[in-house]
């Protein structure tokens, strides 16, 4: 049984929990609230009540499950291997089926289902930024599918969304490989430079980049909130869109999007006679940009230009624990010439963003963010590098409010700088040679 279709599908996980309480040591929510309902152990016992049919579907119950970042720290540290975050998701799904989703969220998800409309709304928001913000501040109209109306410092929307700025097909000069690129909403509408960096760096490596025009939101906000029906619709739509392309890989630049394609779509469509196999095929091709450059292309980063910055790295939960990419981003960054890495104490501790969490639970979210800020402050750097757009929004919010000077960059933007700095030296032909050099180094990695 697909785990999110019926709470029974998660029974074995619930039973596996020995109630040891070890998750208290790592749950960022528990560290703030210090209450048992904040941590996985308490939530799992509440889920057990749902399973046994003993729970009353109250708004309070909804709130308990809503108060979770889906950061997966509990699952990663659970001695019994309980997938606690999945139990919480399954409970959310059950609550959504029982009509417990608040009206605003339900409405937002319905809009998401219609990509055209969604796109329209966002462009409109972009044009009338100032106005839209004021409206948002009074909670009238969420500017973004997951809603940002309660944030105090919000990044500006790009003048033009990435996907309308770049062509659908971006051919490399010496093309040898072909990938599809799932941009994700944040990259499409806010940090468009990240998307451009992806295309730029991949083209440099002889990789053609296709950005399917029909793509839209991956659906994570709906799925994470338990709206499985919407989630499935989004999953099917994207599985269809990306199955059409004969590509070596599908690139993502956000752990949440990547994990949604790689894991959630498969879980959601597990029982579907048509889509299960298709979803798996798409999932197998998913690569975070760091993973693709390091593991597939085996780029020799040491040969790139110098990037003389001193940075610290925030590991997004869904990149590290979610997609299991703890090695790749740093392997790539630290090899770049001239760069200095100063680790913070807990790089993999959640920043508290977690999509809609930072809206519905802003206080807790901000307390968690403050811990991250203190950790960054202690590193004596001026750049925070991360691999997820929504972490970036959260970090920028914190940096602005705490009046810290740090700049936030996506991993791929740093890599792009390294390419640009290499290019600058031998002017005209640099572009081609660079591509050749990295192609070669890709094949002879050990020689370096």
């Amino acid at each position: 049984m697909a785990v999110y279709d019926n709470i029974k599908g998660i029974e074995e996980e619930i039973i596996k929990c020995m109630k040891c309480g070890n998750c208290q040591a790592v749950c960022p929510v528990y560290k703030e609230t210090l209450s048992e309902s904040g941590v996985a152990r308490g939530k799992i016992q509440l889920a057990a009540k749902i399973l046994k049919g003993e729970a009353k579907y109250t708004p309070e119950l909804y709130k308990k499950f809503d108060l979770c970042l889906q950061c997966q720290a509990c699952s990663a540290n659970c001695p019994c291997g309980v997938k606690a975050h999945k139990i919480i998701m399954a409970a959310r799904a059950e609550l959504a089926r029982q009509n417990m989703l608040p009206f605003a969220k339900k409405a937002a998800f319905n809009i998401l289902k219609k990509p055209g409309l969604f796109d329209f709304g966002l462009r409109l928001g972009s044009t009338f930024q100032g106005l839209a913000f004021r409206k948002n501040a009074s909670g009238m109209s969420p500017r973004f599918p997951i809603g940002l109306e309660m944030r105090r410092v919000v990044p500006a929307l790009a003048d033009k969304p990435l996907r309308s700025e770049l062509p659908e097909v971006n051919k490399a000069p010496n093309s040898r490989k072909k990938v599809a690129f799932f941009t994700g909403c944040v990259t499409n509408y806010i940090y468009t430079s990240v998307g451009k960096a992806v295309v730029d760096v991949l083209n440099h490596n002889g990789v053609d980049v296709i950005i399917p025009k029909e793509q839209h939101c991956c659906g994570a906000p709906a799925i994470i909130n338990g709206d499985i029906e919407t989630g499935k619709a989004m999953a099917k739509s994207h599985v269809d869109i990306f199955s059409k392309y004969d590509v070596d890989a599908i690139i993502t630049v956000c752990g949440t999007c990547g994990g949604t394609f790689e894991q959630k779509y498969v879980e959601l469509l597990a029982d579907d006679p048509v889509y299960e196999a298709k979803a798996r095929a798409v999932a197998r091709k998913i690569r975070d940009i760091s993973e693709y450059l390091v593991d597939d292309l085996k780029v020799n980063f040491a040969k790139l230009g110098s990037v003389p910055i001193s940075f610290t790295y925030h590991e997004p939960c869904h990149i590290g624990r979610g997609m299991g990419l703890t090695r790749q981003p740093l392997e790539m960054l630290t090899k770049i010439p001239g760069i200095t890495y100063k680790p913070m104490k807990q790089p993999n501790r959640c920043c508290g963003g977690a999509g809609s969490f930072s809206l519905t639970n802003y206080d807790v979210s901000y307390q968690i963010l403050k811990k991250k800020m203190a950790d960054i402050q202690g590193t004596n750097t001026n750049v925070v590098v991360t691999g997820c757009g929504s972490c970036r929004m959260q970090l920028e919010d914190g940096l602005a409010q705490e009046k810290m000077p740090h700049k936030v960059m996506h991993v791929i933007e740093v890599v792009q700088m390294a390419y640009q700095n290499a290019k600058e030296k031998p002017a005209a032909t640099a572009n081609k040679e660079q591509t050749k050099a990295s192609q070669k180094s890709g094949k002879t990695k050990k020689a370096s």
Partner: protein
């Protein structure tokens, strides 16, 4: 006088934000880490922030005759924080200040809600440690571990929690505040009340401040892993190491079932065909550590063991991760984990281990045993499924027999987890009715109406 009035009074006393009555929250305080126990909803959960708050709570409880269950992190393994008869759960999470670190007197003063590891982090810059280290150091509170008199992996050389508690502030059932003990090493002024409240499992009073002893952190450590093909050889090694005048900080044993499970779970390179492994750590001054390690190696080899000395911190961490994973790894095997802590004199260790194997066979159960071999404290862990009523019957019979055997070998039914609900019925086996009655008299004297953690121990 109704419960609703009592709750009103609590709200008036300590503020609405510190009084929880929401059903969904109450569910989260209806259980603890103990398997095979009933759960029970409390009527209300209170979160005091100070001794004064606790006093106010006790006054209300006393007036309305509501039972009070002190609760730290709820990680105990004897059903000690289950609010069996309803009433008030008093959780100490927000009394979590480290009040003082007094390096000159080697003491720290803490509130009960401080997590053990947080104390250790705070004293580390002074080159000091607080040695008691139950498997839950990262979650368990000082109040909870003092009240269970928690042990851990270093009991043999460093003792257990009670050897570190020097002073306590306690709020009695009627709201009276009393302080016993203090910062002096020597203190024989009247009854040793500090010891009485240590390990009292919240049945005699609410601990609101704790003064503990700290010790200098050992300069050097050496961890070793000894592998044995025969259980007896491991048992003999343990006694012979001590006979050779070496007191390791740690001497942990894992039986074959545990070895296999841990290896499967943590992949630390344990040999899965061995009958037993010992994890031994000596610590102290570097020269002494070297000498003691050499003695350990000699004894192990003489007893047909294969020994590996951890070369660096990374290898040491690996060996320790394996030991720390023992219980959790076993717990992964089956849905329900019944964990006991029967303890025998060190010299009877092998007898106990063999007896446990026989008990597993007799009742056709899967039992993995690991534990603190150095102090004879074993954790036979029965892996089962509480939905299987027939098997659970055999589990209960096996538990009875484990305790009987431990007592026959001159041991005790609980080395470190406490009595609570889980082992209350076995007390007469160890003390006889008259012994239990003496304890009951103490309980009645301090809590005549049985309002403090009722249903636990003798209550």
């Amino acid at each position: 006088m109704s419960k609703a009035q009592a709750i009103e009074a609590l709200i008036k006393a300590i503020g609405k934000e510190n009084v929880i009555t929401e059903h969904e929250e109450l569910v989260c305080y209806s259980f603890d880490a103990t398997a095979d126990m009933p759960s029970q909803l409390p009527d209300v959960v209170v979160t005091p922030r100070s001794t004064d708050d606790v006093v106010e709570i006790m006054k209300v409880a006393n007036q309305y005759k509501m039972p009070v269950y002190p609760r730290g992190s709820g990680t105990n393994l004897c059903g000690d924080t289950i609010p069996l008869k309803g009433g008030i759960v008093l959780r100490t999470q927000k009394m979590n200040k480290i009040i003082e670190i007094d390096a000159d007197n080697l003491v720290a003063v803490v509130q009960p809600g401080v997590v053990i590891n947080d104390l250790n982090t705070a004293v580390a810059p002074f080159g000091l440690i607080y040695p008691p280290d139950p498997g839950t150091v990262a979650t368990a509170t000082m109040g909870g571990s003092v009240s269970e008199c928690s042990g851990g992996l270093r009991g043999l050389k460093y003792g257990v929690t009670k050897h570190y508690v020097m002073g306590l502030e306690v709020v009695m059932v009627d709201g009276t505040v009393a302080s016993f003990g203090g910062k002096t090493v020597k203190n024989v002024t009247a009854y040793d009340m500090v010891k009485l409240f240590t390990g009292a499992e919240g049945t005699l009073g609410i601990i609101t401040e704790i003064t503990v002893k700290l010790i200098p952190a050992p300069e050097a450590k050496k961890s070793m892993l000894a592998v044995f093909n025969k259980l007896e050889d491991a048992g003999n090694t343990v006694t012979e190491i001590v006979r050779s005048k070496v007191i390791p900080a740690t001497m942990e044993i894992m039986d074959q079932v545990t070895i296999r499970t841990v290896e499967n779970f943590a992949k630390v390179g344990l040999p899965t065909d061995a009958e037993a492994v010992l994890l031994i750590e000596v610590d102290g001054i570097p020269e002494v550590v070297e000498r003691e390690a050499a003695t350990v190696v000699k004894v192990v080899e003489k007893n047909n063991g294969n020994i590996k000395v951890a070369k660096d911190d990374k290898e040491r961490d690996g060996l320790w991760a394996a030991r720390r994973a023992a219980l959790p790894a076993l717990a992964q095997m089956k849905p329900t984990t019944v964990l006991e802590d029967a303890t025998v004199p060190r010299s009877r260790l092998t007898d106990m281990l063999v007896a446990l194997q026989n008990i597993a066979k007799k009742y056709d159960l899967m039992i993995g045993t690991f534990g603190h071999a150095g102090d004879g404290n074993l954790h036979p862990t029965i892996l089962t499924d509480e939905r299987n009523t027939e098997e659970m019957k055999r589990v209960h019979q096996a538990v009875d027999e484990i305790f009987k055997t431990a007592l026959e070998l001159g041991g005790t039914i609980s080395g470190e987890h406490g009595i609570g609900m889980a082992k209350a019925k076995y007390l007469p086996m160890e003390f006889g009715e008259q012994g239990v009655e003496i304890m009951r008299k103490i309980k009645r004297a301090l809590d005549p109406e049985n309002l403090l953690n009722p249903g636990k121990m003798m209550g």
